[in-house]
Amino acid sequence: MRNKAVAIVLGAVAASTLIAWTFAPDENATATLTYGTPALESMGALAFGPDDILFVGDSQGAAVYAIEIADTGASSGAINVRDLDAKLAAMFGTTADDITVRDMAVHPRSGNVYLSVARGDGNFGLVKVDGSGQLSEVPLTDVRFSKGDITNAPSPEAAYGRRGSARAYTITDLAFADGQVMVAGLSNQEFASNFRRMSFPFSHSMKATSLEIYHVSHGRYETHAPVDTFTPYEIDGSVHIVASYTCTPLVLFNLAGLADGEHVMGRTVAELGAGNRPLDIITYSNGGNDYVLVANSRHPLMKIDASSFASAEGLEPPTEETGIGFEAMPQIGVQRVGERGDGIVMLQDDDGLHLITAAKDSM
């Protein structure tokens, strides 16, 4: 029994990889984009995809944009920028407390850090931070892009009423995996597990399809809830999602072979506790092992050993016996995390906003 468990864990570790892009090497995803200026109405969640494509969540415009960010050069060296909010305020012509950084994403090829930044009055922009800590705005005019509409109507039967402006969908997180754009969000009207998938390349006829994800608490109560933040994770060649909920548990579910509108059950793999909201999740590899990092509104930055996900069935709130490594990291006020080469870059809120980098080996 014990040998089998070890074999499963080793097999899972060997098979789990960072998500591989599904485009063939000679087929570039940017071929599906056209030049122009995306008519963004807001800018929230950010996620990089294949071939220099940045996916941008536009809640106000009910869309996800795929924008080519042809980042030149590679930046190495740890990124550390103190008082990022003051610097962004200087660039945006306002005060530091009027600046909100909505999301952060690391360009997989260049290593530059991209920030979605907004002023209190709603003006927004995309800012790049390079390896030397220099900030610059990334103009989104005359770029190659495409637009995917997030359909708002819950179903064809429900396409009635004053839906034009009354219904809205706020995108809380985005990721590209398994050839699709995954979108987590919240409706302003119905309370449902609003997790959607959009095929990429985007097309006019494409509809975002939703999955009804739930998890079980105490073996008895089924919880449908909006996914707050999530990350894709491959186990045994199959794409999974590690998701955290407004209701706090960390849940793992398998995306493979799911039909639209399907009722999908996830397994609880960690319980993060009350009074806290998870803000960001990533997976990363170091020393042959996979880890999950969860940034929280109140709790410390948490590191979880992902290899344990593949073992043990039907986890209820995990206990010590399940052997899940669950460590509190020393960095405080971490809001966003990103993998960047040998390090983890973090957006930190601690008497001002800062970007800090910690070596993976030190975590």
């Binding site: 807001s42 200087a90 945006f92 005060t95 922009g125 919240l186 009207q189 119905e190 109560y221 209701c247």
Partner: protein
């Protein structure tokens, strides 16, 4: 000097130390970026006429040759030549400048900020060309937005006096668009008996849950505290307790979309009843059918308050060309979305009744009301499942059913 516009000096380092190396064409007249006529006496001011708008600033009083020379500057050189800084950045030598666009236009230098200069902010503009004249500075301010907002809180839903203990959401309706991102600075829930504020009863979403016009805000109670078996529920309990009274307070001072502040606070009083763990079901609904050749409302009474937002956007009425249904409700339809009637929806009786007044007169004939099964009550229970599903209980008959259809006949006169 006059030909300086044609020629570049390449690789001119920004910070000249000893040993400058000038590459490229040496035979440029007045080599070096932007030589300004020493006779120039430029000024910086808001662009346009004396009462020009505050969208841009300009540097005037430069000779054509000075302007031509400035026209050669790279973007990086412009940032040094005409730096616009916020008040805080002006005190910090390493701070970035205000982002913007530099151009020579109609005999002046024009700087248009990337994002509008903000009300209540002060800025410093420094024109410091690399050679020719001494730098000049101009400090300017953008006036605060004055006057109180004419926007007010119009209504809060649910409007019922009693809410279930597992109340899920509220809608705050404003009379005009509001600035987003400030909601949780201005909304408080107070226990009426103790006067104590309830701690963190709501879910905070960074972008908040507004409708498209930013006039209606959805506030969710923390489902982690409402759902059974979850840690927040076990540790902190439900935010609202049966038998207690609360008031929801919207404080004055919330900025509207123009930055003007809401003048009046708003209070909404309610008390808490029992937990609601019953899904809405059509067996309890009563449909009142109007007469033909009228625009009288079709009224559907649910017997309990339902979600205000969903009542307005989910339910429709369709004309049935044929039909044989005699039951009060069905899970299959005899119509298509193309048969939809247009009209106006109202909710009455604390959102326990839905009224539809058609744009056109009712024609005699068969119709259906279409009610998607995701319609929720105040506790988030929809027809298909309870908000908090107990797997040990019998599943709802509406699992997998998209909508419930109520056929009715408008009798001819």
């Amino acid at each position: 000097m006059s030909d300086s516009g044609l020629l570049h000096c390449l690789s001119h380092p920004r910070r000249a130390g000893g040993g400058l190396v000038l590459l490229g064409l040496v035979a440029c007249c007045g080599c070096g970026p932007a030589e300004i006529d020493v006779a120039d006496a430029p000024t910086i001011r808001f662009a346009g006429d004396p009462y020009g708008d505050t969208d841009a600033i300009e540097v005037t009083g430069l000779s054509p040759s000075s302007l031509a020379s400035l026209d050669e500057l790279t973007t990086e050189q412009w940032v040094d030549a005409l730096a616009v800084l916020t008040e805080a950045a002006a005190d910090d030598p390493g701070a970035p400048v205000v982002l913007g666009d530099y151009r020579i236009d109609a005999g002046r230098v024009l700087f248009t900020p990337r994002f509008p200069f903000a009300p209540g902010m002060s800025y410093l503009a420094r024109f410091a060309p690399p050679s020719g004249i001494e730098p000049i500075e101009w400090t300017f301010s953008i006036p605060e937005v004055t006057g109180a907002s004419t926007t007010r809180v119009a209504e809060i839903f649910p409007s019922a006096a009693t809410w279930p203990m597992n109340q899920l959401k509220m809608y705050v309706h404003f009379s005009g668009p509001m600035r987003t991102g400030r909601a949780f600075d201005f909304i408080r829930l107070i226990d009426e008996d103790t006067g104590i504020e309830v701690e963190q009863p709501f879910v905070t979403v960074q972008e908040e849950l507004w409708d498209q016009t930013h006039e209606t805000l959805t506030i969710l109670y923390d489902p982690g505290r409402i759902k059974r078996g979850l840690v927040p529920n076990q540790e902190a309990g439900l935010p609202l307790q049966t038998g207690r009274s609360y008031r929801l307070v919207i404080d004055a001072g919330w900025p509207d979309t123009d930055g003007r502040l809401l003048e009046e606070p708003y209070e909404h009083h309610f008390s808490i009843g029992e937990i609601d763990r019953t899904s809405p079901h059509p067996n309890g609904w009563i449909l009142t059918v109007p007469g033909a050749e009228t625009r009288d409302p079709l009224v559907l009474a649910f017997g309990e308050p339902l979600d205000h937002g969903l009542l307005h956007t989910l339910i429709g009425v369709r004309r049935a060309a044929t039909g044989t249904k005699t039951s009060r409700w069905a899970t299959t339809t005899e119509t298509t979305p193309a048969d939809q009637l247009l009209g106006r929806v109202e909710t009455t009786d604390a959102e326990s009744a839905w009224r539809f007044s058609p744009d056109e007169l009712w024609a005699a004939g068969r119709y259906e009301v279409v009610i998607p099964t995701i319609l929720e009550d105040l506790a988030g229970n929809n027809l298909k499942n309870l908000f908090d599903v107990d797997l040990g209980e019998v599943p709802s008959e509406f699992g997998g059913v998209e909508a419930v259809y109520l056929p009715f006949v408008v009798a001819g006169r």
